[in-house]
Symmetry: C2
Subunit: 266 residues, 2 copies
């Protein structure tokens, strides 16, 4: 048994296929983190996942300043399907957008799609930075996948190319909207599929909200439902988190517990 | 009508009593913000609230670099009772604790109580900074109150002095816990009072979670219910937000819409 009780094994996202005996190359940032920040050395355990093959216990082999290898030992958790939830969000300023990527990852979204809306002030995003933040959050929260961060696109284009079976919940502070809880409760009552085969997305606007005529246009397609999140005007990133947390609680995997293998990492 | 359509009236938290004709002194930071950041001048409208007298439209009178006065005109929204929800949280590092104060304010908590737990690494909080962040969030989100930020205390002391009628939901990743949604759903079904007379609190632990024997002790009192938030290990501040959002959605004011007077501010 390579695991050392007093130091939880670091959890790393890799891209290579995982199978017993495979030697997995580590990225320079990962090698630096393990060696310099966590002070790990050859022979110590790490946990690896790649979004496809589950989570594996592995043993650090070579570990240099900017490179390293881990040899895969045994599977700890099989890959399982996750709720199919996306987040469409208008990028917000400064570190708030990083925060959206981190929290949406913890709250289990599969896709992060930044969109440009009429009142968007922030009109570019650093995809590498958002992806890195999402990968880090996935490593920490025990997920078996890392969300895909898609390139920024116009909201109009995102809706034009929408697959009709994916339901889109638009967080709307103005205009007509029913509470998110009511909408999801009705879906549950009418027996909507709550498994990973059911496809959903949440959309939040920029700090200034949606323009009135933009909202009129936006809620017209049959796959769109405008939803409310209570009487306070939430910041864009707060609305995203609240909607994702409520969706997971009522419709996603909020009823599950952290797997024992994950809790051991606490 | 003093309101100017193209520039929403800034919303300020003050401590003085609000009534028609009252001249309200502004703090130096508020005067600076209005004059230098927002470039407002005498004669322009502001909205004032103090947590007791509702929200009032007022007109800037004198406005200097570090002082100013606003004269109260008319009441826009009466004071109404808010859901009685507290957040007990182990302070986390850096700006994450500010973030907790901001987001918990947007999500409608009345009291922010920092607590020291067995595994707390951060053992002090800057109350002035947290209070300022909470006031700013309250101004922005349209609340009629600002949460009270209480001094840091030991979790054991907080529980020793607990009023038995306030239910405490402990977010627990390890140990036995039922999903928050299930617990709140049962409360609704058994007809629990969901109005402001019903008292609740959410507790989240530090980054390392609760110690095992601490959790054993913590869940013993009859007012405590351990709850789960799904299969991923949430960061402390994410757990706080998710639990508050779900509570408001299922048990608090999540079914309400922003008042028209608030939506006008978008």
């Amino acid at each position: 048994m390579v695991e050392i009780e007093s130091k939880p094994a670091p959890r790393l996202y890799v891209t290579a296929p995982l199978a017993a005996g495979a030697a997995i190359p580590l990225e320079s940032g990962q090698a630096h983190y393990l060696r310099t920040v966590l002070r790990r050395s050859a022979g110590e355990p790490v946990l690896l996942f790649n979004g496809r093959d589950g989570e594996w216990l592995a043993e650090l082999d070579a570990l240099g300043k900017a490179s390293g290898t881990a040899v895969v030992r045994q599977c700890r958790r099989p890959q399982v399907p996750e709720p199919d939830l996306w987040l469409l969000f208008a990028p917000v300023k400064g570190d708030r957008v990083d925060f959206v990527a981190e929290k949406a990852t913890e709250l289990g979204v599969l896709v992060l799609q930044p969109v440009l809306t009429r009142r968007s002030v922030v009109r570019r995003v650093n995809l590498d930075r958002l992806s890195a933040r999402a990968a880090e959050a996935a490593e920490q929260c025990g997920r078996l996948t890392v969300p895909t961060v898609r390139p920024l696109m116009r909201l109009t284009d995102a809706l034009d190319g929408w697959e009709a079976k994916r339901r889109l919940l638009v967080c709307a502070e103005a205009g007509e909207a029913r509470p998110l809880t009511t909408v999801l409760g009705e879906e549950r009552e009418r027996g909507a599929d709550r498994g990973p085969a059911s496809s959903w997305a949440v959309l939040v606007g920029p700090e200034g909200g949606f323009a009135a005529d933009e909202l009129d246009w936006l809620i017209r397609p049959p796959f769109v439902t405008p939803v409310g999140l209570g009487p306070r005007l939430l910041r864009s990133e707060t609305a995203a988190l609240a909607a994702l947390a409520i969706w997971q609680a009522l419709f996603g995997d909020g009823g599950e517990r952290p797997p024992v293998a994950v809790r051991d990492q606490i």
